[in-house]
């Protein structure tokens, strides 16, 4: 399999379509940068690091009224800010059509009263028609069994999605990775999937099967309230400063940089279709191992993604997931419309184009219909 970077025709890191914004009153990005964010965003996640107030709800309302298509997510700390304060805003939040989820951040050390408060928050948010979720911050010294019980309780209380992240970039326990991986695997086998909100530095081996929601800076970035741009919340490297630069000036310098996310060097997620080599699907070894020879050529791929045009091709996006496509790959992706069959696509793009479709199928970006 070729390493895609050699040809340098597609970015290894596309411009962000997922924006994670730290919010507090007067946030630097809430000025002119917000227009740039809105123009590019597929997902905007606001993390309130202060108690919810009218100002953040007003900002969400303004974003909600925008004609551009993107989804909003709100993260708020349940314990520090008080469940009652948050409850006050559940009614107004439930009227936002773009609000995909409200995520309550809770510490793994939460005591019972705090857990009960979060449970009542989850119930109230769900009852108002919101999709509530939980982000558990794993404190150093947290017990895995306690964590498992906490997660089970929160799921039963109505958390529709559950994620974990560390309190800091420091590795809390050298052996935690394996225990944590076992705990997550056990929860999964009981029907409670838990995702990683961010990386757990130093714990990669035990958790390598789980792709963190941060997508390892692929199409994603983090903006703190001062307007400093980073690849993710944990990254110490500042890519730019919105008080002095436009977002559009910051990102191009990093399109091909491998050091945006040190743990993501080999997770290139690009698809390219060229005249001679037909298909390159880096990071998708399954395509070679499982040749889709048994696929009926009358199957019709149905798109589960949206395409965002880029000057180098297109970004193919589904939720927080995305792929980079060359101009020819983009043309092929546009033929995925639920009407064209594998046969007709193969006829136009060559025999190996079925491999690309199959790669998209495995990635959950298309479904196949007869």
């Amino acid at each position: 399999m070729k390493i895609f970077a050699r040809n340098q025709t597609l970015p290894l890191r596309p411009e962000p379509f997922v924006f994670r914004l730290e919010w507090k009153p007067g946030a630097e990005w809430a000025g002119s940068a917000l227009e740039e964010i809105i123009a590019e965003a597929h997902f905007i996640q606001l993390e309130a690091v202060q108690p919810l107030d009218e100002e953040v709800v007003d900002l969400l309302r303004k974003l909600d009224d925008r004609p551009e298509k993107f989804s909003l997510r709100l993260l708020s700390r349940a314990e520090d800010f008080g469940a009652e304060t948050i409850k006050k805003f559940i009614g107004p939040l439930s009227r936002l059509k773009k609000l995909d989820a409200v995520i309550f951040v809770i510490s793994s050390r939460s005591d019972e009263p705090a857990q009960a408060e979060v449970s009542s928050l989850l119930s109230a948010a769900a009852s108002a028609g919101l999709k509530p979720g939980i982000l558990v911050e794993l404190e150093p010294g947290a017990s895995v069994s306690g964590l498992e019980q906490l997660i089970k309780n929160l799921r039963l209380s109505g958390a529709m999605e559950i994620a974990l992240r560390p309190t800091s970039a420091a590795n809390p326990h050298p052996n935690f990775g394996k225990n944590l991986a076992n705990c997550l695997s056990h929860l999964k086998s009981e029907g409670i999937p838990v995702s990683l909100g961010e990386c757990f530095p130093g714990l990669e081996p035990g958790l390598s099967a789980l792709e963190p929601n941060c997508r390892r800076a692929f199409g994603s970035c983090y903006l703190d309230s001062q307007g400093l741009v980073r690849a993710c919340r944990q990254s110490r490297e500042i890519l730019g400063d919105l008080s002095r630069q436009k977002l559009a000036e910051i990102w191009p310098g990093y399109l091909f940089a491998e050091d945006l996310c040190s743990r993501a060097a080999l997770t290139v997620q690009s698809l390219k279709l060229e005249e001679n080599e037909a298909v390159e699907a880096n990071g998708m070894a399954e395509v070679e191992n499982l040749s889709p020879t048994s696929l009926d050529s009358s199957l019709r791929p149905v798109p589960l993604f949206i395409l965002k045009d880029k000057k180098w091709g297109a970004a193919l996006i589904k939720g927080l997931d995305g792929l980079v496509l060359s101009p020819k790959g983009e043309k092929l992706a546009r033929m995925i419309d639920g009407k064209n069959t594998l046969r007709s696509i193969r006829k136009k793009f060559g025999p190996r184009s079925a491999g690309l479709i199959y790669a998209l199928f495995l990635r959950g970006l298309v479904r196949l219909e007869k």
């Binding site: 773009k98 028609g129 029907g191 199959y358």
Partner: protein, 512 residues
Amino acid sequence: MTRYSLDLSFEDFKKSLSPDDLLTTVPGLYFSPRSGRVLIVEPESASWLVVPPKEFGYLVERGLLAPGSGARSSLRLADLEPGLDPDFKAELDRWLYRLFVGNMLAINGYAYHQPSRLWAVQKYPHYFNIHLTESCNLACRYCRVGDSPGRFALMPVETCKKVIRRVVEEIPGTKIIIGFHGGEPLLNPEAIVEGSKYAREVARSAGKEVTLSLQTNGVLLRKHSQLLKELNIEVGVSIDGPAAIHNRHRVFGSGRGSFDEVMDGIQAARQAGLNPGYLAVIHDPGDYLPVARFMVETLGATSFRLNFSCYEGRAKSKLDFDPTRAAAFARNWLQLLDFVLEHHRQTGVWLSIDDLNLFVAHLLTKDRPHMCYRSPCGAGNAILGFGADGKIYLCEELVGKDQFCLGDIETAPPLHRLLDESLVHARASESRRVENVAACAGCPWRRFHGAGCLNKSFEYFGDLEHRDPMCHFYRVVFEELMWKLADNPEIINLISYYKKYIRVQNEWPVGI
């Protein structure tokens, strides 16, 4: 027999399996654990399965289910069996079958149900709801018609006849229902008499079958019951339960409750040989059980409808609507199920409570026999509403709302053409598809409930882009009904009269 047949039996499935078959997991499934068992929902085909703990663990461990993964993983059938627990191995084919017919597992890329072929809706309406007036002799506190300083006009008889003639002659279809509504339709008896006779006459000429119905508050039933019987009109009476509940909101303009008059009307209707249906509006969720008991024990009803109040019309100013009220409604509504089961144990009779019966039906079939709770809803494709002034609307609930007016019965082009060409219709239908309502697009219950009621969403949120304001109610009740059906398969009997409109899927969806 191919795997595409919707009659695929387990035996045929088993015969069709080959060691080279490529099994692929399906992303986007919803998992809900309870006491060790796990409910799995495949949202796009509205399939579901309850799996015992041990089996669920095997299915995850062997890579046939991948909770939380947005991607698919593949393995060949031949690679699945080595090392398999002997107990599970004996049941493996059965589990593969259940997952396959539930669209929770693809084989060689094939899904059993093709989502794009599911959920088709009819093109032209069959139900025509005519508002003979918006005037009413009551002033119910939750009425969809707001307070008005003056009386509303009655629909002229000629307008009523024109509506009837045009729907019978211009809308394709052989069976139609004409509903007289309002306001209080019995305030316009002349239109009822002339309209009914005319409807039967034009239907006969057009070779169509027509059913006539009327929804009344019951106050004028004593006066008109005999007439309604003679006209062979099916009568529905709105009554909210025992006096203490009914008189809370179903009041005259003076504020006095109307219970006594309504009960008198019901008695007169029965004396005339009518067999009225009953509808109650529930505003306090604690009323579900007492109202159901009243319907059964006092009215002797075995079939009735319980609707919750909605944020519209007069209700906006007269009643409170807590944004988090859905959970309490769901909790109390679910008690109806125990009530129905208990009633059956004692009497051998299955009650038919709308929408309990419909929701059970939705769990057992891909058909959506009712005009509501589907995507898009029935506005303009299953129902049309006609205002007393002859204006044409997408739905009865939208009568009087200019945004949803298609035209006027006097000037509109042929009605089938009006529906084909109307931008109002096209925009509303497109807007109310689950894939176009952001909150519904990723909801596990989207194909059980659709995108909700266009009118209720519009009234509560002010546009067509929002979910149903009570969507949590539906999420909860559909999930609970799945669990209850898994534990008590006799609940299938609740689908009552919907049975003749649906095709129950071939495999009982419960894996235990």
